[in-house]
């Protein structure tokens, strides 16, 4: 079990505020029911399930939230959004985190991973949408 320091949460929780501003979602509404993690088709590949990512954001744990691969795996299929009992949209949070991470110069080494000849074969939308994620 890891140990995190909550000293970052003082009067104002800068990280939380920024994520909320970026995503337009009010994360204080999230009561951690876990349905996003439960519904996420990519959960199995995530180092940290969606709900925990959000938890870390709630706790102002920038490093924990940003270092996980979770946000890069999110394809905004909106299962989470459809299931959230509090009508939140985690995909927006993921997007926000991606952009924040990218602005810090941290991104997935995705280009290298593009399969050979993929660009020719694949539907553009895959490429466009795929790279959209990489725009800070």
């Amino acid at each position: 079990m890891m140990k995190i320091s909550l000293d970052t949460i003082s009067e104002q929780n800068a990280f939380l505020d920024q994520v909320e501003r970026e995503s337009g979602e009010d994360l204080s509404r999230c009561y951690q029911c876990g349905n996003c993690s439960g519904s996420c088709p990519v959960s199995f590949a995530m180092e940290i399930p969606v709900s925990q990512v959000i938890r870390f954001v709630q706790l102002g744990q920038e490093r924990m939230a940003l270092q996980a691969n979770s946000m890069w795996l999110c394809v905004s299929c909106l299962q989470c959004q459809a299931r959230c009992p509090k009508c939140l949209d985690p995909s927006k949070v993921m997007e926000a985190l991606r952009r924040m991470s990218l602005r810090q110069g941290k991104g997935p080494v995705a280009l290298a991973q593009v399969p050979d000849g993929f660009l020719e074969r694949s539907p553009q939308q895959a490429v466009v949408a795929g790279f959209r994620k990489l725009i800070p």
């Binding site: 009561y31 951690q32 029911c33 876990g34 349905n35 996003c36 993690s37 439960g38 519904s39 996420c40 959960s43 199995f44 940290i48 399930p49 709900s51 925990q52 299962q79 459809a82 299931r83 959230c84 009992p85 509090k86 009508c87």
Partner: protein, 659 residues
């Protein structure tokens, strides 16, 4: 000219600290009509009150102004004192120079406080000069109560009132009383059988000399006001003459047709002339006119029941009948329903037979249920080896429009897990939950028992979907404690669906003139201090029609509401605050704006007749029994034909002019 006494209270330093009370008293002396002023230390103390009384007597005062704390504090106190001194209590007015002055303007020079206190006192004196004596309104009380809803809350209330010796009319829309509790198998946390504790009460209610039971009946209309309601009850046609029926059950036995039994969530069958469940009270059968060939077109005539009925009490042509009753109080205990599975497409609700509600599970577990108490799943009647319970199905789920917690699910789901374990020893139950809320006596212990001794696996998280694979149900969800997504097979999925108000709850509320919240639960007069009363005098609430509650609370509320009714019945007549509207019939234009505006339907139409008794026209009349004195009608009246006693135009005008 009136003889007014002004009493200025120092309230220790609370007022005197920032108000020169002596000055206030002095200057008040010069106000028109003021014959005596006092400046005392603690007016509300018994010597203080004594002083007020003496001065009223010795100076023959006819009006009193108390310049002290808020009327919400001591208006009653001083009006009582004035009354004891022989004044009409409404000749006493409070000038609030503490909360509204001395406490909020801490100016040690006392300039501001004194000036404002003078203004307040002056306005009050001018106002009190226009006060007339008001006498308490007395309305006769019909000592008979109507209880709507024959669930456990209603039964309890009815019994309590009847035991106190008053007549009770108990109206139940189903063929039998018992309500939802009658459907339950065992009850938490004691695990005693629901029927065993409820049935005696049902029977007692049915046979109580003071209780008249109207089953399969509904309240059509309620008119009148506290102490004097007139209710119209529709007795739906049972097609059976109750007076003759001996409850022998022959007809049911011989009826050749069956239909799904609503009482068993349609998991079991019943005859077309039937009683919903064996312990039904009364056990008088009714004919299901939706299915019985006698009523359904182009089907052969049957009529077996009529043939076999000894006292031949079968009446195929029976029609709905209406009874009108006069009652003094109405007690609403219409209970709840649970959200249907069809509201949960993501769980395959309605698509998969083996996705059921908690209430359905109660029937499966109930000895009198369709399976005789064996847990068999609806689809194929197999005994499920893995049962998944999903709590908060619809509850605390704004995407389903329900933000509240349904309160009873945590407990009954734990109970279900136990019942299941007791009946299917090798079975395994999984329970998805968000939080466990067991804030009742012996509740937490009960829950832990389910975990520690009955092997229920609690998974902290929500379920996102239930779907079918290889003929089995798969439940996909999260276990946030392990931080992982989980998926598991289930033979039966039980949704603890949200507790919601009865369909038609809002209609009834409109008929009764009581208010309800956004969901359709009835509003208490005050959520804490008057939890079983409504804003409409004479109408009381009990049970789950107020909000999700468990059996103990329902019963407690039933008794609480009953005690309110009994308090009302303890007087020959009821006396009410005389602050009500009154109409100057001479100048009423009969535009009925007041009637439309009145939230309490307190405006009636009164005929103006000539000597010969011919109706010339109609004018508005205030029903003092119903009026609560809000004054909406007064503001609505263009010609100022209605006025509000205690807050008359003249009084307010005077206060304004004394600015």
């Amino acid at each position: 000219m009136s003889k007014i006494g002004v009493f200025v209270c120092q309230c220790g330093n609370n007022i005197a600290g920032t108000v020169d009370t002596a000055k206030v008293a002095d200057e008040a002396k010069n106000l028109p009509g003021v014959v005596h002023t006092e400046n005392c230390r603690f007016l509300c103390s018994s010597p203080g009150q004594q002083l007020v009384k003496e001065i009223i007597k010795t100076n023959g005062l006819d009006k009193v102004v108390i310049a002290a704390c808020s009327p919400h504090m001591h208006e009653k106190t001083f009006r009582k004192a004035s009354e004891e001194a022989g004044l009409n209590p409404f000749q006493c007015e409070i000038a609030n120079i503490r909360e509204h002055c001395s406490w909020v303007h801490e100016d040690k020079t006392k300039v501001i406080g004194t000036e404002k206190s003078l203004d307040i006192t002056r306005m009050t004196v001018e106002r009190v000069r226009r006060n007339g004596p008001l006498d308490k309104i007395r309305v006769p009380v019909t000592k008979k109560a109507l209880v709507i809803g024959g669930g456990v809350a209603g039964i309890q209330a009815a019994l309590d009132i009847a035991e106190a010796g008053h007549e009770v009319i108990l109206v139940e829309k189903e063929p039998s009383i018992g309500g939802q509790m009658a459907k339950l198998s065992e009850t938490f946390p004691t695990m005693d059988c629901s029927q065993c504790i409820l049935t005696p009460k049902m029977v007692e209610a049915a046979h109580h000399p003071k209780i008249r039971l109207y089953t399969y009946s509904e309240v059509e209309s309620v008119e009148g006001y506290i102490g004097n309601f007139t209710v119209k009850i529709r007795k739906k046609a049972k097609s059976v003459i109750e007076e003759l029926c001996t409850e022998c059950g022959e007809c049911t036995a011989k009826c050749p047709f069956t239909a799904p039994n609503e009482f068993d969530s349609e998991m079991g069958k019943r005859k077309l002339i039937y009683i919903p469940f064996p312990q039904a009270v009364p056990a008088i059968p009714i004919i299901d006119r939706d299915h019985c060939p006698k009523y359904v077109k182009d089907k052969k005539k049957c009529g077996v029941c009529a043939k076999v009925c000894g006292p031949n009490c079968i009446d195929f042509d029976q029609e709905d009948t209406f009874v009108t009753e006069k009652v003094g109080a109405v007690l609403v205990a219409t209970g709840y329903e649970v959200m249907g599975v069809e509201r949960f497409p993501e769980f395959g609700g309605g698509r998969y037979k083996d996705v059921i509600t908690g209430l359905d599970f109660e029937r499966l577990a109930s000895a009198s249920g369709p399976t005789g108490g064996d847990i068999k799943r609806p689809s194929d009647g197999k005994v499920p080896n893995r049962v998944v319970f999903i709590e908060c199905s619809g509850s605390r789920d704004e995407s389903k429009g329900v933000a509240y917690c349904s309160n009873i699910c945590c407990m009954y789901t734990a109970k279900h897990a136990m019942l299941y374990k007791h009946k299917v020893h090798e079975g395994q139950s999984f329970i998805f939950y968000m939080d466990i809320r067991c804030g009742g006596k012996r509740y937490e212990e009960f829950h832990r028992r389910a975990v520690e001794h009955e092997g229920a696996v609690y998974l902290r998280g929500r379920v996102s979907r239930v779907y079918e694979r290889n003929g089995r149900l798969l439940v996909q969800g999260a276990d946030t404690l392990s931080g992982s997504q989980v998926e598991l097979e289930a033979d039966l999925v039980v949704l603890a669906t949200a507790v919601v108000p009865r369909i038609g709850a809002k209609d009834l509320a409109k008929r009764l003139g009581i208010s309800y919240d956004g969901y359709g639960f009835y509003n208490e007069y005050h959520p804490k201090l008057r939890p079983v009363e409504t804003a409409t005098a004479g109408i009381y609430l009990a049970g789950a029609c107020i909000g999700p509650v468990d059996i103990p609370t329902s019963v407690a509320q039933g008794s609480a509401a009953a005690s309110k009714v009994l308090a009302l019945f303890s007087n020959e007549e009821l006396s009410r605050e005389p602050v009500v509207a009154e109409v100057n019939t001479a100048t009423c234009n009969a535009c009925w704006d007041c009637e439309t505006a009145c939230p309490y339907h307190a405006i009636q139409r009164e005929a103006v007749k000539d000597r010969a008794g011919n109706v010339l026209r109609y004018v508005a009349k205030v029903n003092e029994g119903v009026c609560v004195g809000c004054g909406v009608c007064v503001a609505a009246c263009h010609s100022k034909t209605i006025d509000l006693r205690g807050y008359t135009d003249a009084q307010i005008y005077a206060a304004i002019c004394a600015l």
